[in-house]
């Protein structure tokens, strides 16, 4: 099953591309998987020509394969052959208009070329295919901000001679520029995190259809992930259904524990609403699985930024259902209503909770359907 829109929400444009690539890997033929994985490894190591060689080998056998072509687009982008990369991604959008990733990556390249209008169009297409594709929304936000900045420059004649104006704008640009998203340089390290090795043994299933099946349109009802906050969606279908399927556990008189979990979640939402980052982060377990597998400190600093940015945040919780899995584990499912300023989004959330020293903490945070 293709589940792009639920793919880990990365800030890095190309990183998502990689993530998307990874998910595409799930459905590629195992026969050719070696080439693909080699190509990915080479790319990760910065050995672009070898990566290209491998992916070309793969594509010679399966010239239509979406994942291979996608990977080739990434490699070419890395090699600075942006025109070729644009060609590949564009063709992918034509052959697989339901995939948001090629659009997204086209947008990244366009944005790097300062063709913000084209970038905007591409991202809008990505969102049209997958209305809740958080990264595209986030990137689109960036593009809007850049376009806005251009418009302001023109409006206010903030030319190079205007030192004060420039330095202030440069600061804003830098803030955005410092997000790994826009900097090609930042792409590599993140790309290196592609967890092929990690995911493969668990999830690779030989699937008969090598080509992506027409993906059912994403449910539009799912509100888009808020731009201002990374809701850190994880794979929608929990990798281990075991977590869910334990109705037996509920036989225990666990009313107290249920209440405790609910309280912990409410307290988490309240800390978030108060923009109390310290308190908010204190609700996460030490072994919290960061959504992209990034380091705890990287994730924390990102959360910090995102919570600080909006002038106000309101998070409320509706329809909470708590399932206990033994004495120290629980799953909390609920509808999360997020409001930052006048921006609103509603999402289904699943929190995997663990009890540590009598305190319920979040071990994993997912977006549900």
């Amino acid at each position: 099953m293709l589940n792009f829109r639920n793919f880990p929400c990365r800030k890095t444009l190309l990183a998502v591309a990689f993530a998307g690539g990874t998910s595409l890997a799930l459905i590629s033929l195992p026969a050719h998987a070696d080439n693909i994985q080699d190509a990915q490894r080479f790319l990760k190591q910065g050995q672009h020509s070898q990566a290209l060689e491998q992916v070309d080998k793969f594509l010679s056998g399966k010239p239509k394969d979406a994942q291979g072509r996608f990977l080739k687009g990434l490699i070419l982008t890395e090699m600075g052959k942006t025109n070729d990369a644009v060609g590949i991604f564009t063709k992918l959008t034509e052959d697989y208009p339901e995939l948001p990733e090629p659009y997204n990556n086209l947008a990244v390249i366009y944005a790097q070329q300062k063709q913000y209008d084209k970038a905007k169009q591409a991202l809008e297409m990505a969102i049209r295919t997958h209305p809740s594709y958080a990264t595209a929304h986030e990137n689109l936000g960036d593009i809007y901000a850049r376009l806005a900045s251009q418009a302001y420059d023109k409006a206010l004649q903030l030319d190079k001679g205007n030192a004060s104006a420039q330095s202030k704008l440069a600061m804003i640009r830098d803030l955005m520029g410092s997000r790994p998203a826009a900097k090609p340089a930042a792409v590599k390290p993140v790309a290196a995190e592609v967890k092929v090795a990690e995911t493969r043994p668990v999830e690779t299933k030989p699937v008969a259809t090598p080509e992506p099946k027409p993906v059912a349109p994403a449910p539009v009802a799912t509100a888009p992930a808020p731009l201002a906050v990374a809701p850190t969606p994880a794979a929608a279908t929990p990798a281990k259904p075991a977590v869910e399927a334990k109705p037996a556990a509920e036989q225990k008189p666990a009313g107290d524990a249920n209440v405790e979990v609910a309280k912990a979640v409410a307290s988490w939402a309240s800390a978030w609403s108060k923009k109390d980052v310290k308190d908010y982060l204190a609700h996460y377990a030490k072994d919290f699985k960061t959504p992209d597998g990034e380091s705890r400190s990287a994730w924390e600093s990102e959360r910090n930024k995102r919570i600080a940015r909006p002038s106000s945040i309101q998070v409320s919780i509706e329809n909470m259902r708590v399932t206990l899995n033994g004495a120290d584990r629980a799953t909390a499912k609920f509808r999360q209503h997020y409001k930052a300023g006048s921006f609103k989004a509603s999402t289904s959330k699943i929190l995997e909770m663990v009890r540590n020293d009598g305190k319920w903490l979040i071990q994993q945070e997912k977006i549900g359907n």
Binding site: G141, Q150, A155, L156, L227, S342
Partner: protein
């Protein structure tokens, strides 16, 4: 996603206060400027139609690529998608707060003017009478940042066009050189300076006017170089208060206007805030003054100097002569004549805007008498004194 954006612009629109549903039902004129599009954009914003607003803003920029106000609105429309905006031009305020304020003023001025297009049944009080060969008259309203063009339709002024303008940085009612103010008064175009003779700053051309006029000089006002002119090539329009005293139009507006300007003829009346008269009231005011002028002419012909003298103000000044000296001289001259015939033709009468109540009257004077005849263009300044129109200045035009 766009649903979520809804309320974002509301505060900015409220701050705007002039909403854009303007001119919806009112009379339609030849709207050549950006105001109709601009008004539409704001109407869309108010209706929470962001996409449409952005599209129309882009249309606006296609038509007016250097329209900074439109760029600012575009910036807002884009930025509003990433964060909540509390103020107009918010994304630019940090870097250039005063410039944003200027653009906001421009937006307000343009929309207000668009909303209150002149009613066809009303005319600016100042255009009491145009000469037959004055095809057009120009009336400026500094408060509204607007210039109105009137066509001389067999003596009746008919509104034909209006344009956004900028005036002095420090406002109007110019007194002296360098005060960065625009004069208030009755002037006319004195020459035409083509683009080639000017730096880019003046845009597509310039039309100097005769500030300081006789009245200004009498009041001790000085300064020079008050022009109507265009904008630099990278600028569509400037803020409402931007010049050193000149009246500045967008180049395309100046080009359109210049077709109607007659050097040495076209009146340029600059007011702080135009007073409008219904055509009936205008007719009455005009008639009463024409009657006074006719009485003055008849009294002059009568050679009864006392009757003639009642038309002259205590404040009269001409060539260094006060009222007494003027009258005594006339008395001596009239005594030597057996008859006088005075004909006035092609009269123009323009009322001064503002506090000083006077009318600039210009006409062809055909003077014949038993011992002397001459033909001249005469100019008089009539003021209200003790409830009557009287002459405060008289001389060759």
């Amino acid at each position: 996603m766009f649903k979520a954006l809804r309320a974002r612009f509301i505060p900015f629109i409220l701050a705007f206060c002039v909403t854009a549903a303007v001119a919806a039902g009112g009379p339609r004129y030849t709207d050549s400027g950006p105001e109709p599009l601009l008004a539409n954009v704001l109407a869309q914003i108010e209706a929470n139609k962001w996409e449409a607003a952005l599209r129309q803003t882009e249309d606006l920029l296609k038509a007016y690529p250097n329209f900074r106000l439109a760029h600012l609105i575009k910036g807002d429309l884009l930025l509003a998608r990433t964060k909540q905006l509390k103020a107009f031009g918010e994304g630019g305020t940090l870097a250039a707060g005063d410039k944003v304020a200027d653009l906001r003023d421009e937006a307000l001025a343009r929309l207000k003017a668009y909303k209150s297009k002149p009613n066809g049944d009303y005319v600016p009080r100042y255009l009491l009478q145009m000469q037959a060969d004055q095809k057009y008259a120009v009336v400026v309203d500094t408060q509204k940042a607007r210039l109105y063009v009137y066509q001389n339709d067999k003596g009746t002024p008919r509104f034909v066009a209006d344009y956004y303008i900028s005036h002095g940085k420090l406002g109007d009612a110019k007194l002296k050189e360098g005060d960065k103010k625009t004069p208030i008064g009755v002037y006319h175009v004195t020459s035409s300076l083509p683009r080639q003779k000017l730096t880019d700053f003046y845009g597509s051309g310039a039309f100097p006017i005769n500030y300081p006029n006789e009245w200004d000089k009498r009041q001790g006002r000085n300064g020079h170089g008050i022009w109507l002119h265009g904008t630099p090539s990278d600028t569509f329009s400037r803020p409402p208060k931007a010049s050193d005293g000149c009246v500045v139009l967008a180049n395309q507006d100046l080009d359109a206007l210049s077709k109607n300007l007659q050097v040495g003829l076209t009146p340029v009346i600059i007011s702080n805030s135009i007073e409008w008269l219904s055509l009936d009231d205008w007719q009455a005011e005009r008639q009463s003054l024409l009657t006074m002028i006719n009485e003055w002419r008849e009294d002059w012909e009568s050679r009864d100097t006392d009757r003639y003298a009642r038309h002259y103000s205590k404040k009269f000044q001409s060539d260094g002569q006060g009222q007494q000296a003027w009258i005594e001289q006339k008395r001596r001259i009239n005594a030597a004549k057996s008859w006088i015939k005075v004909a006035t033709g092609d009269i123009s009468m323009f009322r001064n805007p503002g506090k000083e109540e006077y009318v600039v009257v210009t006409f062809d004077q055909d003077y014949r008498s038993s011992n002397l005849s001459n033909l001249m263009k005469k100019r008089q300044y009539w003021i209200k004194e003790d409830g009557r129109w009287k002459i405060a200045f008289e001389g060759a035009a």
